[in-house]
């Protein structure tokens, strides 16, 4: 079970070091701090919008989880800075990750 295999099934997981418990981002096979192995935390994670802008009808937002993971997500409704959001849809398309949030 890897981050990407779960993401390809539409599940957003949080990679965490088995040894030191550090959250590891970007997802990797090993911890960037202690070189330990990685496990995946499953859950309905809530993130915070750090910044955003808009292209045509879609907003693209920089969202932070656990004060360490930051990803760019798509939103269709008007976002606000510091707004709490959850991943509503995610996956891999043409080799690239995608994340939608509400």
């Amino acid at each position: 079970m890897s981050f990407e295999s779960e993401l390809s099934k539409g599940k957003f997981c949080i990679p965490e070091c088995l040894t030191c418990k550090k959250i590891v981002w970007p997802p990797s096979e090993f911890c960037d701090y202690c070189n330990g192995g990685i496990s995946l935390k499953e859950g309905d994670f809530e993130g915070k919008i750090i910044e955003f802008s808009r292209q045509n009808e879609n907003y693209f937002c920089l969202v932070e989880f656990y004060n360490s993971i930051r990803i760019m997500v798509k939103m269709t409704k008007i976002p606000k800075k510091d707004q709490r959001v959850k991943i509503s849809k995610c996956g891999i398309s043409d080799g690239s990750y995608f994340f939608n949030a509400i």
Binding site: W25, P26, I50, E51, F52, S53, R54, Q55, F60, L62, R70, I71, M72, V73, K74, S93, G95, S96, Y97, F98, F99
Partner: protein
């Protein structure tokens, strides 16, 4: 550490031409040798090629095409700051004694694969640089209460300065309204806020102090080098309104050169997008946080070419692997008092700032007469 000097350079006009990378590399190298017939190719110990192109073995290919049989020949890739990274490698070869003379040629095609960092999946489906540039712009404007109209002066200034650069991609000048009315890419970015990928090449020859003095009446010395990589992924940037890698690289370069930023007379900074110029100026210490636009506005109003005299990336175009070398050549010309209509007054000490991937890495060079 022994001194390393820049003794020759060559370039070609930046265009949208569909040319083979080998041909583009050859042209600027040939320009260098044509302008400097005294250079003996047998003295060149290393040939470094700066590019993001996917073609292989380009340095040996360039060496063969130009009649050089170097000891050392390889390519260097680091996205947009490949050029200055190659110059740093050349400097290191010379100062370590592994080489006495090094040719560095950078080249890129308009369709470079280096424009998008496919690895950076934290950007989700927003991998194109316009998205990080929009986030930087939004954050910077909000933090320092800057309007789109105020930010547009960067593009207006750099297109104006590029008009005096015969090798620049842009041949036009624009007004603030032209920038505002140009194609809206996102809520925070217009087309004229962006540097444009293009086809271009630039070459530079570095040598030991002894060889530099023998081959050039006006060598320019690299007296400061600073480099910093904070991450590879855009979302790891701790600040969205300043450039941490640039701050640290600039500090190192100035420390090595024993100068402070107020002594820099002329600089090329990496204006990949309008907002990058004030952010770079502030992070390098030319002005205080939030005062970059005031500095740029003052320079524009007084027709002072101190920052980005060749027109920056916005005016000159951005052939990734050639950009850092082209920036360096501009500062060399400024220090040699040969920049013609772009010439700034009393240019004794210059600075080059070249960065990659949303300022996740930066290289800063200090050059002196």
């Amino acid at each position: 550490m022994s001194k390393v000097g820049i003794i020759a350079h060559g370039t070609i006009p930046f265009t949208k031409e569909d040319s083979k990378i080998e041909s583009i590399l050859h042209k600027s190298t040939n320009d260098l040798f044509q302008k400097n017939p005294n250079i003996d190719k047998k003295d060149i110990d290393a040939v470094l090629v700066s590019t993001n192109n996917n073609s292989k073995y380009l340095s040996p290919i360039l060496s063969e095409m130009t009649g050089i049989q170097p000891k050392i020949a390889h390519s260097i890739e680091s996205l947009c700051n490949s050029g200055t990274n190659s110059i740093v490698s050349a400097f290191s070869y010379i100062s370590s004694g592994l080489a006495d003379m090094v040719l560095v040629t950078g080249a890129e095609r308009y369709d470079s694969p280096g424009q998008i960092l496919e690895w950076d999946n934290s950007r989700g489906e927003f991998k194109h640089p316009i998205f990080w540039a929009s986030i930087f712009s939004k954050s910077y404007k909000k933090e320092y209460d800057i309007s789109n109209e105020e930010l547009a002066i960067v593009s207006v200034k750099n297109h104006k300065q590029a008009k005096e650069n015969p090798n620049a991609l842009s041949k036009k000048t624009y007004t603030i309204q032209d920038v505002i009315n140009s194609k809206k890419l996102t809520d925070d970015l217009r087309l004229l806020d962006c540097s444009r990928p293009c086809t271009g090449s630039a070459s530079i020859l570095l040598a030991t102090e002894e060889i530099a003095k023998k081959n050039s009446d006006t060598p320019v010395w690299i007296t400061g080098i600073g480099q910093k990589t904070t991450s590879a992924g855009f979302t790891k940037n701790t600040s969205l309104s300043s450039m941490e890698s640039t701050r640290l690289a600039g500090k190192s370069a100035l420390q090595m050169s024993n100068h402070n930023i107020s002594e820099i007379n002329v600089a090329e900074v990496h204006d990949a997008f309008s907002v990058c110029e004030p952010m770079a100026l502030e992070s390098l210490g030319f002005t205080n946080p939030g005062k970059g636009m005031k500095m740029i506005d003052d320079l524009y109003e007084t027709n002072n070419f101190k920052i980005n005299p060749r027109g920056g990336l916005i005016g000159t175009g951005h052939p990734l692997g050639a950009t850092g070398i082209s920036q360096t050549i501009e500062i060399v010309q400024q220090l040699q008092n040969s920049a013609e209509k772009r010439q700034t007054d009393n240019a004794d000490i210059g600075l080059v700032h070249n960065m990659s991937a949303a300022a996740t890495s930066s290289t800063v060079l200090v050059l002196e007469k």
